[in-house]
Amino acid sequence: MSSPYHIFSTRDNEYIYSTLSNDIVLIDDLTSKIINSIFRENKQFGQTIDALKKDHNLENIVNSCSLVKKLTSNKIISENNKINLLKPELPKKPYSSTLVIGLTEQCNFRCLYCSYSGNYLGQREHSNLKIDLDTSLDTINQLADMQNQKIHIGFYGGEPLIEYKKIRDIVAYSKKKFDKTTYSITTNASLLKKDKISFLIDNDFITVISLDGPKNMHDKWRRTISNDETFEKIIPKLELIKDLNSEYYEKKVGFNCVLTPPYEFFKIEEFFNTELFKKNQVNFIQVNMYDSKLKFKELDENSSRQLEILKEKYIQDLIENRPEERPKIVSSIYEKPIKQIFDRVKNPLLKFPINGPCLPGIHKLYLNSSGIYQICERSVQTLSIGDIRNGIDFKKSDKILSDYHDFVRDKCKDCWSSRLCGLCEVSPLKNNVYDKERLDEQCDIMRNTLHNSLIMYARVIEKNPNAFISLFKQ
């Protein structure tokens, strides 16, 4: 078996993406057939040539064979070299630069698709559990003892604004302990009032508000405890933030939008391009279908068609230098993998760390409402890395990385997308344990996303080679 590679086509061209060299090289259909026949299907070389002679003239076959030879001598594809995926290593002096605090498990909403709604296997449910202020401050002390230069603190719940006073206290305390502090909050916005908004503005919070698009789509899922609709409660809060400080609203307020069936992408895109939202960042997340008691439909023909049309607009907007007009949904779904492609590095590397997993406790430390440290708010307590009493256990962080590496490496070493992959320690979890079937599902989704991203990337660059440079380097 050869080194992993992936062949994909745009409307005009065919390319080979090489995992070994990280290059994307133009090839033609005949070259692609030869590569697949001898390296993937492992057919005898003579057999391959005999079969091709039926449909192709000898000169073209010779030229394509010559290109294959050149690709191998440039280590873009290799018959012998295998890639070796390493376990990412923690720094010698590890420290956490992002702390996310799960202030409370209490929420004044009961959104049907919420991971904590009781509709998901292996997830906690809403409760009245709240974090002690002292617990939060102890964590900040522990982190400041590692380094006191800068920290980002995110406030998460439940609904974190239920614990507004603690937020104020934690912010004040962290400013005393660190030279530079930044903050964020994920909120349903229902409890925002003038004083709270002023506090967020004064402290330059990144405020992420959950909003699922137009009223009917939002209210279908996002309800209060007493099952009331919530859209009309939120919009005036947004207008209030904008009135108080429009620059803050445009630059620092973003939205999390959960995409749910029937996935009316056009309507959602239109909604987030209306006056109140057009300058704001929106992060679109498909509803979590895994391990749910609720049965969510997949994209149907109509929604798939809508997404394809928006993808086409995205490509044309970038080709014609209109990045500000590119569809937000496509940007949210595909721009991270496209950026990963854009950021890839050259040089053939036979050994590289598995792409995707974060360094637990370093990229982020999640403190849950019980005082337990986890690797992120998506993870479960099986991926805990210590607790407030005993501190952050980086040996556990290392063990989590080892376990993930052991679980995926055999699959990754033959996978063409291993240097672009975004799966992480949480991805293969099913009911809190690693599951082969879940990993296979996630790998298929990731490869499909990367395949589509490669096509979009190449289509844009074919017509406008600088499009992504100006987009990502601005």
């Binding site: 994307i24 090289v25 390296f39 992002t98 992060n283 792409n355 995707g356 240097r419 987009l471 990502f472």
Partner: protein
């Protein structure tokens, strides 16, 4: 003790391809045409793009430029 077993090493696919090409003159100038020029290897080739916004915030510029965390 002696052995009469001789080991036949099959040529690799690449060796077969090279042997095939020896019989022909390559007329066309076949440069490798790369789509783009990836950056030189200078940062750790690690770091994915978990869908979580917090990881992006770590980079501080996400909301302005679509940056993502790569450590």
């Amino acid at each position: 003790m002696s052995s009469d077993i001789s080991v036949i090493i099959k040529p690799t696919q690449l060796e077969n391809l090279e042997a095939f090409l020896e019989d022909y003159t390559i007329k066309e100038d076949l440069d490798i045409k790369k789509l783009d020029n990836p950056a030189k290897y200078q940062i750790a080739d690690i770091g994915g793009y978990c869908s979580c916004w917090c990881k992006n915030i770590n980079q501080q510029s996400y909301w302005q430029s679509g940056e993502q965390a790569r450590r």
